[in-house]
Amino acid sequence: MLPVLLISVRSTAIGIDTPISSNQDTTAFVSPFQEDNERCFKCHGQSIYEYTNENLGRQVKALMFSERIIERKNFYGSNHKSFSCTDCHSEEYTSFPHSGQLRMEQQYNCIDCHGGDEKFAKFNFEAIEADYQASVHFKLEEGGFTCWKCHNPHEYKISARNSNNLKETILFDNNICLNCHANFSHFQLLTNRDEINILAKHDWLPNQSSHFKSVRCIECHAEVNNNVLISHLINPKEKAVRKCNECHSQNSLLMSSLYKFESKEQRKDGFFNGIIMNESYVIGANRNEYLNVFSLIIFGLVILIICGHLFFRLRKKQNK
């Protein structure tokens, strides 16, 4: 229970409202637990660690298992940067060698710390949890699926809400999905299914690379939920959006997903769904109402002139 309390108290120091950008200097942050954390990073901060083997009476160099490496830079740039390692992990980890029993340590889920906390009310973690429980991912929980499979607690940072660069957010968010769906060794940890070839599966999508760079996987694969910024209800593949006009239309789906946050500050220069045009251009969704009206007027005038001309021609013919 102690780690939970500590997290709750420190949530004010996380700095969740600070916009992140690619060139943000994460090293500027100095953790109050830097010294304590360094005891862990000394071994877990890189691929090689060194320890004294008292039985052999000498220093031993060993390779750190890749899944147990946590980059200092990534951790101190993450949303959990102000934590001490032992806020979430057992105090017993401070002794080395670690007890084998510690591997059985129970992990917290997001809702364990963030649920019911007023400071996090705007994120609506309860709705996120409900979304997750209705998603296909929840069915894999028995097999070991947890929040951490997508949101690495050591490196995760809020992206959609704070980033100034939407392309970065798209890349960051899509990499979360690809970490399992395009990495078969990770995929195998959770399912016995055959390897998925993401590119082949999306063969039907015109301008595939443009779509991959301009929208997130969840735009098509998650159910839109107006109560949360990012829907966590991942649908079965049969329910994925396949109709182009879900996005390529005036009532574009993208406005309630990818551009949901930005749409509050929608540009008003005559374009429908103008906010999309800050980053991209979506045929069918971006139309200019002035151009629409102007073209209709021109077209109407041409029809009128033709009808007038035709009228005089017919009158001349009658008078012959």
Binding site: C244, N245, Y281, G284
Partner: protein, 205 residues
């Protein structure tokens, strides 16, 4: 009078079919809604047919330009500086009231002058300005990775698309006027028959 050689007629026929497909599918893409509309082609089908027709149009356009270069047909598209505006005005006056008063055509069709000044300028604008622009911008939209990301702070794709739809619109208006003016021959279907058979029926009774 044999005015339209086989290659011109074939090019024109294919061009006409492709332009109609491109306009219908283009409007369908631009004005697509979430619900299917009987007036519009579904987005996915519209994209597919727009792309196919566009690629064929490019080849057909190259055929037209090369054909004009290789044969004497190109001379009909040359605009001389001499009397250009006065001739244009003369033709416009004829269409506006001269023809209703029974005046004779100021520029009767001949082997030397296939097009009247108004046709000449509108065909040059359509074939050598609007069509190249619509092709270039269309290729940009077909291969969006080739488009400049930002141009004076505005997305290159937006500029490309607006250029494409504006030129597409101009060509749609041209098509409408072109079809109508083609009813101004000796009889309403004379000129249509001409572009099919190759023989122009003279206005003279």
């Amino acid at each position: 009078m044999y005015l339209y050689p086989v290659w011109v007629r074939l090019w024109h026929l294919l061009n006409a079919v492709l332009i109609v497909i491109l306009i219908i599918t283009g409007i369908s893409m631009q004005y697509t809604g979430k619900a299917e509309s009987a007036m519009l082609v579904g987005f996915a089908r519209a994209v597919k047919w727009h792309n196919i027709a566009a690629i064929l149009l490019i080849f057909n356009y190259v055929f037209f330009v090369v054909g004009n270069f290789m044969t004497g047909n190109g001379k009909y598209y040359r605009i001389g500086k001499r009397n250009f505006f006065s001739d244009l005005l003369k033709q416009m006056k004829y269409y506006s009231w001269g023809m209703f008063k029974g005046e004779k055509h100021p520029f009767p069709v001949s082997l030397e002058n296939k097009f009247n000044p108004l046709q000449r300028i509108s065909y040059v604008l359509a074939m050598y300005v609007a069509l190249p622009l619509v092709i270039i911008s269309g290729l940009g939209l077909l291969f969006p990775e080739t488009v400049i990301n930002r141009f004076f702070g505005v997305s290159g794709l937006i500029i490309t698309d607006i250029l494409h739809i504006t030129m597409g619109f101009c060509l749609s208006v041209f098509l409408l006027v072109h079809i109508y003016t083609c009813t101004l021959g000796r009889k309403p279907f004379s000129l249509f028959r001409g572009i099919i058979t190759g023989y122009h029926e003279s206005d003279e009774e």
